[in-house]
């Protein structure tokens, strides 16, 4: 039985979990403060975790403040979480070499399995990972690089103890409580963590930890905490029935938002479910080899809808429509659910402070 009832782990013993993971050959990756944001990167030990840091977010606004709190995970999110671990912003798909005879050779980089343990993944981002799995793995063709990186992941989830003003995961059904997709799951309390496993490999690790029985009051406090996070969310994305947003393409609100949108693509770059990428060749100066790379792209970019002879989406309005109708509407036909997991990053990191939820609600509200 891999799913267990929660046990209690003292805060100072979280390092023990990290050491056990390292002992099993995992490279550790976790949240830390950098350049005024929370980023996920290589983690040496718990000293690097963002202890006492909380975020304030609004459309076009993101700030961190230090508080006198022992908590490591008392913030909502940063610009990226785990998408770059499975789908890096840039990677070499293959390299072509040309011999003097003119013969070509195609070399695929070694996709050796790398074991990476991610500490402190939030519900919205685990939901986004499940969607990326659908896109890259459960399709007709599996993406070999994504598959190798995905297989190596060990995921330590953490239920949110605080929502940002931009969070709306309750209305997308993706949080704040984590229900699946984790190996280990934490609830952070003032005095430490409740911890439970969600997989066999998680259960094996759990057995190695210095745990105490969770007190009924602690279990109750953890439940109260996550319910409080849910209640505190002010933003609510109205449901979009499949096909309905596509049918609202004449709504005047599109012109209004297009006037403000800079078409910079920030929303798509911070979105944990966006998968668009383009491919390009990087020829060595010697001419003997050429790297075929792929790099994140955005439906806001000039070249995204460019064909020989015509541009499918030449206006900002058309690009904004593509972004929103795909994410909230046609995504449902493609993957059986909306492509939005309620993380709110598209709003916080929008330089024009466009409120994605408000815009969507205005358009669907008149439907």
């Amino acid at each position: 039985m891999s799913h267990t009832a929660p046990a209690f782990l003292a805060r100072e013993d979280l390092n023990r979990l990290l050491q056990l993971l390292q002992g099993q050959g995992y490279r550790l990756c976790g949240p830390q403060v950098r350049d005024g944001t929370i980023v996920y990167d290589h983690l040496a030990d718990t000293a690097a975790l963002p202890r006492g840091w909380r975020d304030t977010q609004q459309p076009g606004h993101y700030r961190l403040q230090q508080h006198d709190s022992p908590r490591y995970f008392d913030w909502a999110n940063g610009p990226q979480a785990i998408k770059p671990l499975t789908f890096p912003a840039r990677e070499v798909l293959w390299e072509a070499r040309r011999r003097e005879s003119g013969e070509l050779e195609f070399i695929v980089p070694d996709q050796a399995l790398e074991k990476v343990a991610v500490i402190g993944v939030k519900a919205c981002d685990l939901a986004a990972l499940a969607l990326q799995d659908q896109h890259f793995l459960q399709a007709e063709y599996q993406d070999p690089g994504y598959l190798a990186r995905r297989k190596g992941l060990f995921l330590v989830g953490v239920n949110c103890s605080r929502a940002a003003a931009t969070c709306f995961c309750v209305s997308t059904g993706d949080g704040p409580a984590i229900e699946q997709g984790y190996d280990l799951l934490l609830d952070e309390l003032e005095e430490g963590f409740l911890i439970r496993s969600g997989s066999d490999s998680g259960a094996v690790l759990l057995a190695e930890l210095p745990l105490e029985a969770a007190l009924p009051g602690q279990i109750d406090a953890a439940e109260q905490q996550v319910q409080q996070v849910a209640r505190s969310q002010q933003r609510r994305l109205m449901p979009v029935s499949p096909g309905s947003l596509m049918q609202q393409r004449q709504h005047p609100q599109w012109d209004d938002v297009a006037d403000r949108c800079l078409a910079c693509g920030n929303c798509t770059q911070v979105c944990p479910t966006c998968f668009c990428h383009h491919q390009q060749d990087l020829l060595q100066l010697s001419g003997e080899a050429s790297e075929h790379q792929r790099e994140w792209d955005s439906c806001f970019s000039e070249s995204h809808g460019q064909l020989a002879g015509f541009q499918v989406r030449s206006t900002v309005k058309q690009r904004y429509q593509q972004w929103m109708t795909h994410k909230l509407d046609s995504w449902q036909e493609q993957y059986g659910r909306s492509g939005c997991t309620g993380c709110g990053r598209c709003m916080s990191w929008c330089p024009a402070a466009i409120d994605f939820v408000e815009e969507a609600n205005k358009i669907t509200g008149d439907g």
């Binding site: 293959w94 998968f275 668009c276 990428h277 060749d281 075929h292 020989a308 036909e333």
Partner: protein, 278 residues
Amino acid sequence: MNSHVFAPMRATVLDNIRESEGIFTLRLQLSDPQHRASYQFMPGQFNMLYLYGVGEVPISIVSDPQDPGVIDHTIRSVGRVTRGLAKLEAGAEVGLRGPFGQGWPMALARNKDLLIVTGGLGCAPVVAAINFALKRKAYYETINIVQGVKHSDDLIWRRQYEAWQALEGVEVFLAADQSGPGWPFHTGLITELLGQVTVDLKNTLAMVCGPEGMMHAVAESLLQQGLSAYSLYLSMERNMQCAVGHCGHCQMGADFICKDGPVFAYPDIRDRLLLAGV
């Protein structure tokens, strides 16, 4: 197919045939005998062709699937990759990934009149269907080819159309919106020509390729004349880069043109045609 879906196979240029100004046919053979032995395709499918150091482009296969050892691609040189491909000579190597996408429903067309309507500068996906059908004429009641161009000067392969017209059981109809001197064919819209085609619309399978506006007009005209919507197929075009539905560029509503298309039954794509920005 290679074990790695994104890595091309090596292909040798057997011939590079100049068709007209700016249009050429690249005749390729997979260099590795194992790749050659396992390669199969259907008309309407496409390959990703890779020019060393420059990049990949999606190109329809126009040769016959009976002989997958020789793979022909008729290409218009318009971009960096295609202009480079145009210069290749026999013996050069390129990269090839494929075949990708859903091709024409050639089997569904058996024992029916085949109506092929194309607009613009000669449409490689339908050339594949025409070539396929002409080699198997006994399978089809009649083969009708309708081609429309904006100006009569735009018609390429005029001799090719004349050669097709000369075949028994084949009818060719040509139209130009505007015509110059010496144009013996129809002057006007391609839809005006459709009334002259003598197919039995109750027993016809139609394949259409061209600009979306033209395809929409042709489709609606044929439906009005009594063709069933599920007997009508269109070949769509979008920016295809990965060819397997991962990169997002060829998305059209809920479909990825590279894997869900490029050929669609009309009812499956009808609501998205002519929607600006989709």
